[in-house]
Symmetry: C3
Subunit: 216 residues, 3 copies
Amino acid sequence: MSLLFAVDLLGVFCFALSGALLASSKRFDILGSLLLGGLAGLGGGITRDLLIDIGVPVAFDNPAYFVAPLLAAVVVKVGLLGPGRLRRTLLLFDAGGLALFCVSGTLIALGAGLNPIGAALMGVTTACGGGLLRDVVANEVPQIIRRDGGLYAVPAAVGAGLVALSWQLGHNPDVRVGPAEIIVIVLVFTFRGLALRQGWRLPPAGPVPPRSGEVR
Amino acid sequence: MSLLFAVDLLGVFCFALSGALLASSKRFDILGSLLLGGLAGLGGGITRDLLIDIGVPVAFDNPAYFVAPLLAAVVVKVGLLGPGRLRRTLLLFDAGGLALFCVSGTLIALGAGLNPIGAALMGVTTACGGGLLRDVVANEVPQIIRRDGGLYAVPAAVGAGLVALSWQLGHNPDVRVGPAEIIVIVLVFTFRGLALRQGWRLPPAGPVPPRSGEVR
Amino acid sequence: MSLLFAVDLLGVFCFALSGALLASSKRFDILGSLLLGGLAGLGGGITRDLLIDIGVPVAFDNPAYFVAPLLAAVVVKVGLLGPGRLRRTLLLFDAGGLALFCVSGTLIALGAGLNPIGAALMGVTTACGGGLLRDVVANEVPQIIRRDGGLYAVPAAVGAGLVALSWQLGHNPDVRVGPAEIIVIVLVFTFRGLALRQGWRLPPAGPVPPRSGEVR
């Protein structure tokens, strides 16, 4: 369970950085940095813990979870992450959090007794919920549904599905982070990175795809 | 309990269509369609289940609830609902979900042991919560509080109140969907439809009503 | 416990007024007034109750909690609070709710068995959560992270910390509102008021502070 904890904590830190960088780019103050970082880092996991009904969310029991957003706010404040690379860096850490959380979230839900489909949904919720809360509170259209956001939830769904499938097939009875899970994390991160770099897009919600170009 | 399940599922589908149509009109991608459809269709019920503390929300136990947003996204994607009638159609399905959910939500809360007033509030939460989440995530001023939105929560409150009253008077000890509940569904739908067509409005929040016309 | 209840209820009323006044200034209807008032007044406490997992949130058990938003909507509707002083009045009541809730929220969480750090976080959540929900639903950048919002969460954190510290030191074993807690309420209110009047600001999230003046 120790590696799962480390993976979860690293995910919190990655997402918290994305929140702190967003706060910086929107010129909010350090409290906004802490809030957006905390929401991005802890919001997905807290939502998962509320939904799987395991009592007080883990984040409130273990202060280590709150150190991560604090550290992220400091990193952004002292300028360790240069403002010129803000957008690219934000997307990178966002991808890291996505990869780590879809795996840890699915494992935690399986450990709480959910069926594989429900557990995979919880993995996606853990991975995408924090970023959604971050963007909603910052009064932005969430990255997850922006047409220019690249594929976001799809890698998370693939990763969560693989973790749940592996458990279902009996390869991970102890619900741990093993070599297979680390491969999934790398896979999701690579998938997300490729989607961003290549500009992959999902088809539009409606029947007619929007025209490219400036007209209309 | 079977008819209650069917009514609940139909409500999910109606609201999910409203979410998918909103995603289409805002030119989000199919993931946005699934997300807004899922939030609109399942958000109210999940919020209710969290509040009445019945463990893992029903939606995560029964995959049928997730088929509805999927189906709604497909219906919108293949163009079964024409884009010319988007706004009107969206409002129609929204009204259907409203009518179905204020009844099913109240009944589910009564079944969980809430008092009639709390149960009626849960019915309104179920009916209005999903649309609120849909609009908040889409970064819109929620339909429920827009001045031009017509009466929205009032029909839901009337319907939820009637269902709770009927239970209180001993007419529905088994907390089922019977003829009286179906009449309430039709009533709420008609009330909401009339409010839209006639442009009924609630008085403004402040003391001075806003002037009509273009000045200021 | 009776004084705690009174303090909590007064906090609900103060925050509900802030919501109703916001609805009035944005020209929403009376339903928007009730909704924003209810969210502002009850959203923080309901979020706390969900997180500390104490079953159905207190607000749904005791109808008195819903009378407060109703009363607030009426006070704003009949014009008891003049529109000319809207913004200042809103901030005043917001400060009152902040002071009352950071104390009552921390005490309720301590009473539910949380450790002092977790309880103080719940105090801040109670104090800031309702206003956050109010602003998010009204489609505004939340006051808590706006650069011109003055210090908001800092007084709440100080108040919640003092209450938790007093309990930790054994001064408040029965988790009640005593003279010390009333002093904390006054202190938080004064701190917040001074921050507003003096225009105190937190440093920005990023390394370079934004320039003052109109340029850029």
